[in-house]
């Protein structure tokens, strides 16, 4: 997973996340939007045949002086916790 920041300011960040697709990006975006200090989060990905930019680009906007990169890190932790919680709940039922 290679990251490349394409745009960055105090409360806004655009970052390319190489090698990922909707599977992970949509979960990540959904989790970012649950964050209190994230005012907007979206990702954009083009089909392989389109030429040009095909890696997903994640854009995050925050409020209250929160660093978008920190929000991203917290969201990554949350996604991991969700996956573990889901696996535990599934194994408990199985």
């Amino acid at each position: 997973m290679e990251l490349r920041v394409t745009e960055s300011s105090e409360n806004e960040l655009s970052i390319e996340i190489a090698g990922e697709d909707h599977t992970f990006m949509n979960v990540l975006k959904g989790t970012l939007l649950e964050h209190d200090d994230v005012s907007a989060a979206t990702y954009d990905v083009n089909p392989e045949q389109s030429g040009g930019q095909t890696e997903p680009i994640l854009t995050i906007k925050t409020e209250g002086g929160v660093d978008p990169l920190n929000a991203l890190e917290e969201a990554a932790v949350d996604v991991g916790e969700k996956a573990v919680a889901f696996r535990n709940a599934f194994e408990a039922a199985a």
């Binding site: 997973m1 990251l3 992970f24 979960v27 990554a76 535990n88 599934f90």
Partner: protein, 249 residues
């Protein structure tokens, strides 16, 4: 953040199951579904060396057919991408070569089904070949897809709201999936997917239960449903950890 998930099985067999997950967001449900289809690695034949092929099909056609044979996938950690296992086949006509004729060099990697036909051989025709098996993901080739027919639907809550007027012509009310009736989970197949069979002469209201999804999962025999779901959750977990580490740098 603590997530409250609740999983409950509705139907369950080795290769096919239906289970309800509560407390899951649509994004996460879809992530799990997509991970089951494209991101859980399975074993499949990738390269074939033909010793003799006097059948009516070209080597390439047979290689594709061999590749699509589902093979059992060993537990996590036994194999990594780039490890190979060799399978060999030697059948002489008149006979049909089946997946069951494949002889494996590793007991952990076997054809999941014995009865997949590969080619019908006539008198004097022969197929002898060696095949290399690799571990890969469904994203790269459909033969590595462990989950076939993986999907989910909202759990639907059915409530009786009154009686149908006495002389009204009853219409059928078709629903598919699993319904919740007073906390009881009922697959719609039990009443032929028609609510008027279960609630004759009664008016019912149906609504989707928020954040409750009924998954239907079927595997190709590479592993059990439980394995598939756990491994799918693990791939998402692995990517989250990777992102976390990449961000910290």
């Amino acid at each position: 953040m603590t997530e409250e998930y609740d999983v409950e099985f509705v139907e369950r067999e080795d290769r096919e199951a239906r289970f309800l997950v509560r407390g899951v967001t649509p994004a996460f449900a879809n992530g799990i579904r997509r991970a089951m289809i494209a991101d859980v690695p399975t074993m499949a034949i990738d390269t074939v060396r033909f010793v003799e092929n006097s059948s009516v099909m070209f080597d390439e056609q047979l290689a594709l057919r061999l590749g699509l044979v589902p093979l059992t996938t060993p537990p996590v950690g036994e194999f990594v991408e780039d490890d190979t296992v060799t399978l060999s086949i030697d059948v002489e006509g008149p006979a049909t070569a089946y997946s069951g004729n494949l002889v494996s060099s590793d007991s952990l990697v076997q054809p999941a089904d014995e009865n997949v036909p590969i080619i019908d051989l006539k008198d004097g025709q022969r197929l002898e070949a060696e095949a290399e098996v690799v571990l890969d993901r469904g994203k790269n080739h459909a033969k590595h897809q462990g989950g076939v027919a993986v999907g989910y639907r909202h759990l639907q809550r059915v409530e009786v709201v009154g009686d149908v007027p006495e002389f009204e012509e009853p219409d059928e009310r078709i629903v598919r999936g699993v319904i919740e009736d007073d906390g009881e989970l009922v697959p719609t197949s039990e009443f032929d997917h028609d609510l008027t069979n279960r609630y004759p002469d009664q008016e019912v209201a149906i609504e989707d239960v928020p954040n409750a999804f009924v998954f239907h999962v079927e595997t190709d025999g590479s592993f059990t449903v439980e394995e598939l779901v756990t491994r799918a959750a693990e791939t998402i977990e692995a990517r989250a950890t990777e992102l976390e580490e990449a961000v910290q740098l």
